[in-house]
């Protein structure tokens, strides 16, 4: 059965903001499975609920309806505390953002190593792992650069390395290529595809970027917080 190896499993998921007349249904009655090795694109117009969905999967937002399982674990069943969710993010989820969000006061390899440090690795091991990842992403020569000195493409690669640093099997990316030219955008999506295959990770990418559409394994179209029936 396919759902057996779904790393992300969503049933009837809903999220609204506000109440009464100000209520916004950002996401409603949403179903989705993402399997190991898959790169799934979330597409749709602005305000359709893509980021909301990604934040729900990333355990940053709490849903107002439905169930969600990550790597077999039931989330939001009432037993999870904020602290546990942070730990879950640290261990299982890798985030990549449009604005790469590197810590400005750490250099490239330290931005990666901090994830390992938070996971409890001794400093030397964390540094070794960060260097390996930068080698893997062909960024070894920029190891010691501060984020402000990196180009957009370089910074995005460091961010990807950081998302991979916890050996997470769920990788969430919100418009990771929006700020990149097409060559670098393709390179980034290729990296994500490789990561999905080599690590058997589930990759969920929010994108407007038609340059990368044909590299996606599956496209999910949203409109007004629901699956777009016309897509």
């Amino acid at each position: 059965m396919q759902t057996q190896d779904a790393l992300v499993e969503i049933r009837g998921l809903g999220k609204h903001f506000g109440e009464g007349s100000t209520r916004v249904n950002a996401l409603a009655d949403f179903d989705l499975d993402v399997h190991a090795g898959e790169v799934v694109g979330l597409l749709g117009p602005s305000g359709s609920g893509k980021s909301t969905l990604l934040n729900l999967v990333g355990c940053i937002l709490e849903p107002t309806a439905g169930v969600m399982r990550l790597d077999g674990q039931d989330i939001w069943n009432g037993e999870w505390k904020r602290k546990d969710l942070r730990r879950l993010r640290l261990e299982k989820i890798g985030f990549i953002f449009q604005s790469h969000n590197l810590l400005p006061f750490l250099n490239a390899w330290e931005n990666i190593a901090i994830v390992r440090t938070l996971l409890g690795d001794p400093p030397a091991a964390a540094q070794r792992r960060a260097h390996e990842l930068l080698d893997y992403l062909k960024m070894a020569h920029r190891r010691d650069a501060m984020p402000a000195q990196l180009s957009g493409g370089e910074a995005q690669r460091v961010a990807i390395a950081r998302a991979l640093a916890n050996d997470s099997r769920i990788i969430l990316a919100d418009e990771p290529t929006a700020a990149l030219d097409s060559e670098r955008a393709l390179a980034v999506i290729e990296l994500l595809r490789t990561a999905a295959l080599e690590r058997q990770a589930a990759v969920l990418v929010v994108t407007h970027d038609d340059k990368i559409f044909d590299r996606l394994d599956k496209k999910v179209h949203l409109r007004d917080g629901r699956l777009d029936p016309n897509a």
């Binding site: 980021s51 602290k83 942070r86 985030f95 938070l118």
Partner: protein, 378 residues
């Protein structure tokens, strides 16, 4: 890798500037505490140096430092004969002003009976007074050298010895002469109005043979309290144990200084707290996005709180140490004597730590409220 340290490197200018500000504030705080300790030390120093067990003073007064106390010169003989007395000596205190080498100096004149309680403590230079007239021992800060001739009243005194750090609570250096010399000087130097006043009381005083206090040393088996109570039965006399005398000094002479300095110290400490708090808060707000990112990638709150607290504590400690160094360097330019006590430094350090922690509260609260999702918004 220490996140606080790395972040500080990024904001080094702002951080160091704040440290300098805090160090100046804390330097002033330490200076004021040291001045206060100096005051206490000077005020109590004189009373302590006299090494009395009991001070006998005029009835109904708390003299001779806190109130005027005047007694007939023969009081000491009566006291000496009391049971339990090892030795007793008359002393006279008088604020005087003398002209010396073209300048006017304010001194505290102390007359005592050589060989009896009340004289100068260990001399740092020179010799004790050996003649019954015209020899004096002065505090080094009076500016006299051994052998120097000093005109006081109608006579010239030779400085034969020097003592250290013996000043009146007003800061005036002390000069010792024999009781007889001091009594004559008192009469000669007193303003004419006061002399007329004394002349009117002449019926009571009869002559210039008056003293301010009798210092009593007791035999070891005599309790100062019991002895003081014995003396109190003479209506004309009061008695205070050394501890009581120090308490009186502490309350009457030092209390106001303590209040003023305490007030300024508290204000400066609060200002330091506000400054540290504001800077920590702005530094936290500047770090909103990195903090959201840290939360997003799963860093526990402790990592974020540590990031902020370490910076606040570093500011406080650097400010404290730099302040202490600045004060030590500037110590000699202070008009008053500074006394540094380890216990004060330890207490102030503790207060600074508390201030840093309290000052970071708003910063920490702001940091904990930051939504991890805000790292995602563009």
């Amino acid at each position: 890798m220490n996140l606080s340290l790395r972040d500080v490197y990024q904001n080094l200018g702002k951080f160091l500037l704040t440290c300098v500000g805090v160090s100046l504030l804390l330097g002033v705080v330490m200076g004021m505490i040291a001045i206060y300790r100096g005051l206490v030390d000077e005020a109590l120093g004189l009373a302590r140096a006299m090494k009395a067990d009991v001070w006998v003073v005029e009835g109904g007064t708390r003299g001779p430092f806190a109130e005027a106390s005047r007694m007939p010169g023969d009081t000491r003989e009566g006291i000496s004969s009391l049971w339990g007395v090892e030795s007793a000596g008359s002393v006279l205190f008088q604020n005087i002003e003398i002209a010396h080498r073209g300048t006017t100096r304010r001194l505290m004149l102390i007359g005592w009976e050589p060989g009896r309680p009340g004289g100068p403590p260990t001399l740092s230079e020179g010799r004790p007074i050996t003649r019954s007239h015209y020899e004096a021992i002065a505090d080094r800060r009076a500016g006299f050298a051994i052998g120097e001739q000093v005109i006081m009243g109608r006579n010239t005194f030779a400085i034969v010895g020097l003592v250290e750090n013996l000043v009146a609570s007003g800061g005036d250096p002390v000069i010792f002469t024999t009781l007889r010399d001091a009594q004559r000087l008192q009469f000669e130097l007193e303003p004419s109005a006061a002399r007329r006043e004394q002349a009117r009381n002449a019926a009571a005083a009869q002559n210039t043979d008056s003293i301010n206090a009798v210092l009593v040393r007791l035999k070891s088996n005599m309790s100062p309290q019991v002895f003081a109570q014995d003396v109190q039965r003479w209506k004309r006399l009061s008695a205070m144990s050394q501890t009581q005398q120090e308490d009186v000094l502490a309350t009457s002479v030092i209390e106001r200084a303590r209040k003023q300095i305490g007030l300024f110290t508290s204000i400066l400490l609060i200002v330091s707290m506000v400054i540290i708090g504001l800077i920590i808060y702005t530094m936290t707000i500047d770090k909103k996005r990195p903090i959201a990112t840290l939360k997003l990638i799963g860093a526990p709150d402790s990592v974020i709180v540590k990031l902020i607290l370490q910076q606040a504590l570093a500011m406080g400690m650097i400010g404290f140490i730099t302040g202490a160094i600045l004060l030590r360097l500037g110590q000699d330019y202070f008009p008053r004597r500074l006394v540094f006590e380890t216990s004060d430094a330890v207490a102030l350090f503790g207060i600074v730590i508390v201030i840093c922690l309290a000052g970071s509260v708003i910063g920490v609260r702001a940091a904990l409220k930051i939504d991890p999702a805000s790292a995602l918004s563009n």
